[in-house]
Symmetry: C3
Subunit: 321 residues, 3 copies
């Protein structure tokens, strides 16, 4: 982890970790789909499941990323990835993050053509069955998210502090060659890094403190993004608990050079940030001033997600006992 | 702003700000020229007007870049860009820089073909008239600069301290894929970043202190630079006032692989640097030892530019009262 | 030198210096081979001779890289490169490193076609004769190294501290557009940077201190690496003297998308690291626990290289008196 990977306090950005996770998933997924004959193909990211950042990483640490294919359907595959942080000076290791990603193999000749995925062997029938459940669940959720797309509205001219409009932020990025690989489409990891950057600015503007990514809700990649596109990445606060902020991040893409320059929503996700003091201890977050019915609705939806995640965590902990 | 964007004292390099300004100008200019039918095209930078760096930016701050098209001629357009720096921890904002850039739309099929620019609507006839004056003025100055091209002469073997030869510096850069975009020509912003890097080395060598870019005189892009070229960027001191240094920067390009490897002058500009103490207060600059008639002539020309700029600043201030 | 070029203590990574050296060599070599008519070509790196890092470089310093062609055979050329570090605040300069690189000109139309190298003029017959000796010596050594290729074996599951298995490290890298130039093959410099990164992790894991590259034994580039390949870079300790560690680094490449995904050994080299205290003084290195016959053999071979280098240094010093 290098100086540019981290904020001023030395914490590595969540976006950098997401980018490494995606690179590992892309390599193992692409390799797997090319063991068969037929068109050569590239594994394109379509979804990242909820990802938690369990312990912070710092500049100078070494990140170990391991990936495994855990389920295959006819046209998609699931990769599970673990990131372990190692302090090479003390030898201490810790689990920094784990994630599950879904990929679809696109032909290198024609990026719209989805190839078939060679099946993997499962250790047991149960394992396969659990994978199938995850597959069905994500398929349904991806369709639901696609239906729920809303416009990002520009904030008022002089927003009051601690309102949604005050911290809402947008970043515009021109997709360059180094964002892409092999064919001229943007790496999922490059997009996630930009999303985390915007979410971090929103969180810092609301708190005026050092902030870090705690978790990312499922990220859905609705459409591919081509080289030469302009991305508008917008983040806004949706919900605030006692010690966390939920930020909705939307990525809109549009071609700079097509005569018809319609924007389309390419990616959406919810990022959760926490505020830290100088000793990396969580701080209380200033409450959010709600100013419209839409903001209230989004706040309530965010609260529902927050309570659901909390319940899931508790039941998982009990399951492990 | 990330650690790599700044010097050891935490000041963001002027070149990084110029690069962001140019990216914004390129996006808005390219979009505007592609609303019509005909060949798809890319806005190529031909000139940046005098740019002042009004307040320094630091690592961790957020830069807001906004761009607006303010004049169109048949084959070129003017974009005005503002950069506002925001300290997300305190919420303080300041105007870091503003700039005006001229672009020409080149066809993506044939980079030598200049497309027509769709006209914009002006708020008033005065506004259009003022734009036309700026257009005529820059057109004349670009032609004049092109005529004034001179060779960069290698400095003597053991130059004395505080001479022009002592601080003269060159940087050689092989144009790689990440310097280019869409078609294989170098982004104006990438070139300006290199120019600022060289000017910074010249200034630091003369002063042996922390230095920052104060302003950049009009930058003229005489010729395009292709991927695979080798750039030689040379900077030398021309003039020194009590608290500022003027550095002439020249960019020469040559192909590595063409049989006929003639160098050509691609870009020229004058950068003004100031020297800072530990509290970011300006320091006096050591005076320049002139050793030849050419150096004296360039010094006098620099002095004329300095006095002209000073007079312009004073009359602008009076105009605002 | 920027923050990202260095470790936490501010020392610039050896890999960054190797990358600059290679860029200089590639530019001068490519230029030389294109002065004649015939296919345009690119100088491809095939070998770097033993390189010593004579004095450390730090963030904020300016690196001067100068390159000169010192020998040409029918199909290859030797470039000698010097890196001088300059502290622009004090004006102090020091020789940071010098290196000799061998290049082969590959046609840009067909990368497998090796072009002829235009001969250079030598200052004296002795100079040419010495160059020929270096040429013959490196040719023989390249063939020998190619024959000596061995598999990198995965370390045991729970290796004991200070064993070879404990510090053995691998890095996986997906070759992207910014690693390549002109034709879609990886720059030798990009590969060397990755090799130094892995060697640095191995050294830090063994010592748990701040470590720096002291020297690199000849690096041999056996095969070219194409864009879209996955590189596995593995480093393991071979030999430890009182104050230095020798680390063998192997680069294996494999295509992600070819049906037949055989790995091939692309590059090999030995890196020597030293451990530093807070005042940049060398520290004793913990001794290495040997656990197998292979490890003992590699240790003995490393010791032979170490003693040979020491003898060479001594005789060079005497030669200079």
């Amino acid at each position: 982890m290098r100086p540019d990977d981290s904020n001023l306090a030395g914490n590595v950005h969540g976006g950098i970790i997401l980018k490494m996770i995606e690179e590992a998933g892309c390599i193992i997924g692409t390799r797997h789909c090319n063991v068969q004959n037929g068109d050569r193909c590239l594994a394109a990211l379509v979804r990242v499941e909820k990802t938690e950042f369990l312990s912070p990483m710092f500049i100078g640490e070494v990140a170990h990323v391991t990936a495994e294919i855990t389920f295959t359907s006819k046209h998609s595959l699931e990769v599970q990835v673990k990131v372990i942080g190692e302090n090479v000076l003390t030898g201490a290791k810790k689990l920094a993050s784990k994630a599950a990603l879904w990929y679809v193999p696109c032909s290198l000749k024609n990026v719209e053509k989805i190839m078939e995925v060679p099946p993997i062997k499962y250790a047991s029938a149960e394992q396969e069955e659990e994978g199938r459940k995850r597959y069905e669940a994500q398929k349904m959720e991806r369709m639901e998210t696609k239906a729920r797309i809303e416009e990002a509205v520009a904030p008022p001219a002089n927003p009051e502090q601690h309102t949604v409009g005050f911290s809402q932020s947008s970043l515009i990025h021109l997709v360059g060659p180094s964002d892409c690989t092999l064919h001229d489409y943007v790496h999922g990891g490059a997009t996630m890094k930009l999303m985390d950057e915007v979410a971090g600015i929103v969180a810092a503007r609301h708190c005026n403190t050092n902030i870090v990514t705690a978790s990312v809700d499922a990220i859905n990649f609705h459409r591919k993004i081509k080289k030469g596109c302009v991305l508008t990445v917008t983040g806004r606060l949706t919900f605030i608990s006692n010690k966390s902020m939920e930020i909705e991040v939307m990525v809109d893409a549009s071609s700079m050079v097509e005569a018809e320059m319609r924007k389309y929503r390419a990616v959406t996700a919810f990022f959760t940030y926490i505020s830290l003091d100088k000793d990396n201890k969580p701080l209380p977050v200033p409450s959010l001033k709600i100013e419209s019915e839409d903001e209230q609705r989004r706040f309530d939806e965010g609260k529902a997600r927050y309570l659901q995640n909390k319940a899931k965590r508790l039941s998982n902990n009990q399951g492990q006992q």
